[in-house]
């Protein structure tokens, strides 16, 4: 009973963090929610008795992918503020 409620709560948290990662208007917050999603996935892998995948997901899925996304976000923001005319930007965050 306890484990069932834990699994349901974790599943709900996974879906909620995934939804917020895509739906929040601020991209930085979205990337942070994605890192949170990655760490919750590591918990899910631990619940599925897959410690190898949990290690790899925490290090690669959450950590490295999060670092890559934050780096790219910073690069896109810096370039956008260097005098680019705002009317022609098709990809407003």
């Amino acid at each position: 009973m306890i484990t069932l409620s834990f699994d349901l709560l974790l599943a709900l948290a996974l879906l909620w963090s995934a939804w917020r990662a895509l739906a929040t208007p601020d991209l930085g917050r979205g990337v942070v929610m994605f890192i949170v999603f990655g760490l919750l996935m590591a918990l899910a892998w631990a619940r599925l008795q897959a410690p190898d995948i949990a290690l790899a997901e925490a290090a690669i899925g959450a950590g490295l992918t999060g670092a890559l996304l934050l780096d790219a976000l910073g690069a896109l923001r810096v370039g956008g503020q260097s005098g680019e005319p705002s009317a022609q930007r098709k990809d407003a965050p």
Partner: protein, 227 residues
């Protein structure tokens, strides 16, 4: 018009979810019992941990192709990077003494942990991918602390490290192909061969994953002010 298209996509997504839900809840029992086959052949595979045995022995060909895909992705990034003069550097790194002290403390421990994970992969959860990921994390930490400069075009030694794991795996596979089938380890040498391949994979995966970040990484603040 746009709202209509968005509504259609959302409806289709909901329909897909419902269909898949019905299919998942209605699945018949599997006919092939894979865990039993893995457990039956685990003694001859050379390692004691079933996931490592599957990764490097039973499905070794998949791992060989996977490391090739990693290398290809890095080559793709190198070719896309363009001239290494971005209009403005991506990150301004101000050297923080606390972060640098922490990095100097943590990185040797991370390298030790990576070595342990590599060795422990034969007996318990661990292996080449986890060890390589910890090495890459150490490199990213050094870069963010300002102790490791970002990489421009890789030099000869770095190229050897990046491609070395794949070449070692390929050499072992080719050597085995001469006598037996592809990646058919002789059972008495399987443990040693797997450890050798995993060691090469650890170094390569660590360097490739670090390169995915460091090729576009933080430029030090001094370079930022002069550009």
């Amino acid at each position: 018009m746009k709202a209509l298209l968005r509504g259609t996509v959302v409806l289709l997504a909901l329909a897909l979810a419902t269909l898949m839900l019905v299919a998942v809840l209605d699945l018949p029992m599997p006919t092939v019992q894979l865990p039993a086959s893995v457990a039956a052949n685990l003694a001859q595979s050379g390692v004691e941990h079933p996931v490592t045995a599957v990764l490097l022995n039973f499905r070794g060909y998949d791992t060989l192709l996977e490391i090739a895909v990693l290398l290809l992705a890095l080559l793709g990034m190198l070719s896309v990077a363009g001239p290494q003069t971005a209009p403005k550097p991506a990150l301004h790194v101000r050297p923080d003494p606390v972060l640098q002290a922490l990095a100097r403390l943590a990185v040797p421990l991370m390298i030790l942990a990576a070595g342990y994970l590599l060795w422990a992969g034969a007996h318990r959860p661990g292996g080449a991918f986890q060890a390589g990921a910890v090495l890459a994390a150490a490199a990213v930490l050094l870069n963010l602390a300002g102790l490791l400069p970002a990489w421009s075009t890789p030099g000869r030694l770095l190229r050897l490290g990046l491609a070395g794991g794949f070449l070692l795996f390929l050499a072992v596979a080719a050597g085995l192909l001469v006598e037996a089938e592809l990646l058919h380890y002789p059972p008495e040498h399987a443990g040693g061969l797997i450890l050798l391949i995993e060691a090469g994979l650890t170094v390569s995966i660590g360097l490739i994953l670090a390169g995915l970040f460091l090729l576009f990484g933080a430029r030090p603040a001094a370079a930022a002010e002069e550009s």
